[in-house]
Amino acid sequence: MEVDKGKGEAEETRKVAEADRDTVTLKSSDGKLFEVSKEAAARLSTVLAGMIAGGSIDDNGTDLKQIGSEALENVVDYCNKHANSIPSAALISSSISFNTAPFKEPEEWERKFVDRLSHDALFDLVEAANFLGMERLLDVTCHKISEMMKGKSPDQIREVFNIKNDYTKEELEEIRQELAWAFYDD
């Protein structure tokens, strides 16, 4: 018990030291380190907010094994841009519940931010945003992908999303007939 208590005290001290810092260090799957504003990270990512509150942030770089360095760089970049661009209150309220809250169109800078990404980088960023619980970033990236889908056939969509066609020819024909109206061009 005595030993445990000592360790607890040490942890307590480290937490305090950490709380004083206004950035957190994140480590990508390939070992690169990124600094991000603690306030922005906590505000934009439910997962990072939980880690900060729970004290599981590592000073030497919190391991995010699921996220590659390119995606993490984009995440950090987004957080920093966000911190500088918009008053926070509006954004927090817009991202509380993404299924029912009215969807807010991407801001101009958010549009530019996703427009410059390559196809792969965009999809990696969606995964990273999903993993980190960053609902606003997920909204913005998903909105971009949805725009890319307009006017595409099911075949083209499968290619974009790397999805295997698991229907038989007959089933596909059946679906086409059932939903014939949706396949007409107006």
């Binding site: 990236t141 909105h143 889908m149 229907y167 679906i175 939903l179 007409y184």
Partner: protein, 382 residues
């Protein structure tokens, strides 16, 4: 979220992200995307997804039936569903040759086949047809009722169960005496019960205007309408007669708004000095009962704000350059502007109460009738 494993990936992306992406897309494209793969079809057929999609895309949709004279283009389209910019989001094709749309309610079109005189309700999203039972309630058959030619069919949906019911008003003549008889049936696509006899209405009802809100049918007395439209006079009787589709009984009568007529008789004449015929009709305005009346001297839109106390509020009062044609309000938009349908203008119009101006919306040439579409285009009947 739908009841699917959320951790799994479909192709390149996690399901959560796919769900979010698909929510952004228009309904028509989504229906096409059911052909991508099984997991996508499962997600896109989920009623929960349909609800979330409707919440994300609250844009009002209008159902416009192709006018019979314009329906000979060979493509079989009988209804187009459009958004307020006039973009067609869905084209609905007929089930049988000689199908003709009589009216549209909720998410259904009431279709008469002019070849065999049969009636059906067609679900505009799924294409499923609900056929009306043939014949009449037994008691009415015994009474000598055998013709539907002047019958009026009024569709409503029960708020609790979502069940559709139809009130039929039969115009029956025997021994030179005409009377109105009432019957109800429940609509069901697989099996249907027959018509059930109801009590007669308390008074003669006009068939020209009626509506249903939350399973309550609202109808107008013939003599009320006649005295207002032709004599510019209000009778003492309660104007509105109700029928409850849930309990299948006539409900209380409702006193209408306290309407006035212009004291200046000249104002009520048209350019040729002929008195302008008044309008007195019912409308469903965003789920509230609305009485449209005018010109008196303006076209007034009264909303019933308190059913129990019978409180009516004159919500809008519109001035038109020319009266003489009926005005039908379709919808109040989020900013308080009103979408209206006036027969002598080929565009639906949006009225702005702050500027008192009208702007043109959808061109409805070659379409009739027109109504708001209250369904979900993603829904599937299976």
């Amino acid at each position: 979220m739908p009841s699917l494993p959320t951790s799994s990936n479909i192709g390149a992306l996690p399901l959560d992200a796919v769900y979010e992406i698909l929510l952004c897309l228009p309904a028509k494209l989504l229906c096409r995307l059911r052909a991508v793969c099984r997991p996508w079809r499962a997600l896109l057929s989920d009623p929960q997804f349909a609800l979330a999609h409707a919440a994300r895309h609250p844009e009002p949709l209008i159902a416009l039936a192709v006018a019979p004279y314009a329906g000979n283009k060979g493509d079989g389209v009988i209804v187009d569903i459009m958004d307020l910019s006039g973009q067609i989001v869905k084209r609905v094709r007929r089930v049988q040759r000689n199908d003709r749309v009589i009216s549209m309610e909720l998410d259904l079109a009431f279709v008469k086949n002019v070849n065999n005189d049969s009636y059906k309700f067609l679900n505009l999203a799924t294409g499923v047809a609900h056929h009306l039972p043939d014949g009449f309630a037994e008691e009415h058959v015994a009474f000598g009722v055998n013709r539907d030619s002047d019958s009026v069919f009024i569709l409503g949906q029960l708020p609790n169960t979502g069940e559709y019911k139809v009130l039929k008003l039969i115009h029956h003549v025997s021994n030179n005496l005409s009377s109105q008889l009432a019957e109800v049936c429940t609509l069901n696509s697989s099996s249907h019960s027959g018509w059930r006899r109801m009590e007669k209405p308390v008074d003669q009802i006009t068939s020209s205007t009626r509506l249903v809100i939350d399973g309550i049918v609202y109808l107008l007395r013939v003599d009320t309408v006649l005295s207002i439209t032709f004599n510019a006079r209000v009778t003492e009787k309660d104007m509105i007669i109700t029928f409850d589709l849930n309990t299948e009984a006539w409900g209380p009568c409702i006193q209408g708004p306290s309407i006035n007529f212009s004291i200046d008789p000249v104002e009520m004449l048209d350019n040729n000095g002929i008195p302008i015929i008044k309008q007195f009709s019912l409308a469903n305005l965003n789920g509230s009962l609305c009485v449209v009346h005018g010109p008196a001297p303006y076209m007034d839109f009264w909303i019933l704000t308190d059913f129990d106390k019978g409180v009516w509020v004159k919500q809008y009062s519109m001035q038109f350059e020319q009266y003489g044609c009926p005005v039908h309000p379709l919808l109040v938009l989020g900013d308080g502007r009103v979408l209206i349908h006036k027969i002598d203008n080929r565009f639906l119009q949006i009225y702005d109460p702050s500027t008192k101006n009208f702007i043109n919306s959808v061109d409805w040439t070659h379409y009739s009738p027109i109504s708001m579409y209250a369904g979900n285009l993603l829904s599937l009947d299976r």
